[in-house]
Amino acid sequence: MITQLFTATVLVGIVSSGVRLATSYLYAAIGETFGQISGVLNLGVEGIMLVAAFAAYYAVLQTNDLWLGLLIAIIVGAAMGLMMAFISVTLKAEQGISGIGLYLFGLGLSDLLFRVTIGTTKTLNGFSNIDIPGLTSLPIVGPILFHQNLLVYGAFALVPIAWLILNKTPWGLMIRAVGQNPEAADSLGINVARVRYITVTVGGVLSGIAGASLSIALLNVFQQNLTSGQGFIAVALVYFGAWNPWRVMVGCLLFSMVNALQIWVQILGIPISSDLAVMMPYVLTIVALIFAARLKVTQPAALTKPFERGE
């Protein structure tokens, strides 16, 4: 039975769905990376994803306009990101707890609005797969990488962009300075609060897109708790990726590949308890976090610490 897994078609299938499944994690985790590097832990990613996923879904259901749906998700993400920034930067609230608040708020609100406006699950036509001339026809690599929807391409394009911004631009330097040593950054005339507002809002926007990538591209439905913990895992993947977009991507892919494998194991009817199979990615995340901690990468020194300007 296990040998079924090792046929070329199945392997391509697994890797291809792994790439696809990594999308929502990538948007959310890259967004969270910006916030964390600047010193803010946003544990409410899950809540933002849920509300944005619903908003995008609702907009597309009403207007059939996918781009409008995406735009709405971005606006919702920005608004909720701004809200989190206000709570953690201006009001200096304990970030681990306010994030839980944002999660409960989003979990409830998305479910509430769904029940009031739609009620029953309907499937919509989301972003369809786009083939890239010349590349999609390549053997193996083609179907894996170049037969995906637009948001998948966007997610992977985001990785080098994020890396460039964070490591090769003055903005990136500012963001890192604010997260490492806000006092020093402040004394150099950097507006710590403003930088954090921007990074957390950018994180919110990307979390919003992450939500939309589920409801109007990957799954094309909405239901209660659609994201089922993806936002929390994205936060964990940022730690695993040691605040480096490339390594965050590796973490996302690792997690989604194991998930894809697990799904295929069930499709093929291989007699492994599905409960244990679903458990595997979470166990793997803990193991991965142990190894990540071993690498002695230090987290941004001011992570979760609100900045208090000494007068």
Partner: protein
């Protein structure tokens, strides 16, 4: 002299720590009212319906108490963890593992008399939860895995593990024959049932929760170990200089936190459901108690005694949510939203509690010539 001033300070600090969150929750309710208005329901009617639904009759009051109980157990545990500087998000998983342990004991020894079986099952729940919480503690201390992340992962793992058991060894044997295959255990032996005030749903676990809250208060404020846990949470550096092993007390804090969540799970199983079941989702069995317990603890000022009325309040919200649906046609999900708003507002309002405390301690330290060691004790928590 020094002791006198510091007790006065605690008294005032407590008043602020109580009033400001109450005010913040009032604001959250106001935002909730705006939402209700937007949903086309009269906010006053809606809140009144919730109140009536939760407290209107003796039976609904009993329901509220029963719903409040898991929140109280989790919340009391959360008080220990957060006072020790540990953010435990793993209540869900700890409830689940505690319930599994309790059910396993009750099903393994069905012939034991109740006075042995009930304490044994409760103890198993306590230990199960302690194990799951302690795991996150060990991951933090020995492997440097952030407890926020590990407890989130452990929640998912616990739910899947429960599913695995309920599809396998713990599945109701009669269902195996019928091949209906609902993932649930058989009904637990009646000897394991907690004493219940028939015909209401009120069970002895409610009382146990209150006793536990009082005991935890005594533990945290009147014993050396409790004092050390709080010292570690307030200022780990100072605690280390004082010779306290910070990692050890952090593990202890999250272990105990998990233990009480696990005990709460055991109480829920022995007092209410009398079996273990799952719908495969995180919230299916626990009803989100692992998260709502955090909310209750925060609302109660991270104080075990304060958590009692707070848990009652949120239990009332949960029961009231049902009548919200019935009488003003607002889905019960509104209550989850409201919970979230309360957390956000309360945790955001802490900045004013801190400011008031800062003001006061500046005045106090100006008054007292030398800072006294008991200042550490009276230092207000975040």
């Amino acid at each position: 002299m020094a002791i006198q001033t510091s007790t006065k300070k605690i008294g005032l600090g407590r008043l602020d720590a109580l009033l400001i969150p109450l005010l913040a929750s009032g604001l959250a309710l106001l935002v909730g009212a705006v939402m209700l208005q937007l949903l086309g329901a009269n906010p006053l009617d809606a809140y009144a319906a919730m109140l009536r639904g939760a407290l209107g009759s003796f039976n609904t009051l009993a329901d509220t108490l029963v719903k409040a109980t898991p929140l109280l157990f989790v919340g009391v545990g959360i008080c220990i963890a957060y006072r020790g500087g540990i953010i435990n998000i793993g209540g869900e998983g700890q409830i689940v593992i505690g319930s599994i342990a309790a059910v396993a004991v009750a099903l393994t020894f069905p012939n034991l008399p109740g006075w042995v079986l009930v304490p044994a099952s409760l103890m198993a729940g306590f230990i199960g939860g302690a194990f799951w919480g302690g795991l996150a503690g060990v991951l933090k201390i020995s492997f440097h895995v952030n407890e926020v992340l590990s407890t989130v992962m452990l929640n998912f793992i616990a739910i899947q593990f429960m599913g695995f058991l309920l599809h396998g060894v713990l599945m109701d044997p009669t269902e195996k024959d019928n091949s209906i295959q609902i993932p649930q255990t058989q009904r637990l032996p009646p000897a394991s049932d907690l004493w219940r005030w028939v015909p209401t749903q009120l069970h002895a676990g409610v009382l146990l929760g209150i006793v536990v809250a009082i005991l935890v208060y005594i533990f945290l404020w009147r014993t050396t170990i409790g004092y050390r846990i709080r010292a570690v949470g307030l200022n780990p550096v100072a605690a280390r200089y004082a010779g306290i092993s910070v990692p050890r007390y952090q593990v202890l804090a999250i272990l105990l936190s998990g233990a009480f969540a696990g005990l709460g799970g055991a109480v829920e199983v022995l007092g209410v459901t009398h079996r273990l079941f799952t719908d495969g989702s995180l919230t299916g069995f626990t009803g989100n108690a692992g998260f709502n317990g955090i909310v209750a603890a925060l609302f109660g000022g991270l104080h075990p005694i304060g958590t009692i009325p707070a848990a009652f309040l949120f239990g009332a919200l949960l029961v009231g949510a049902n009548s919200l649906q019935r009488s003003v046609q607002v889905p019960s999900a509104f209550v989850t939203t409201l919970d979230g708003l309360v957390v956000i507002f309360v945790v955001s309002s802490q900045i004013w509690v801190r400011r008031r405390n800062l003001q006061r301690s500046t005045i106090e330290s100006a008054r007292t010539e030398i800072s006294h060691p008991s200042e550490v004790e009276s230092e207000p928590a975040k």
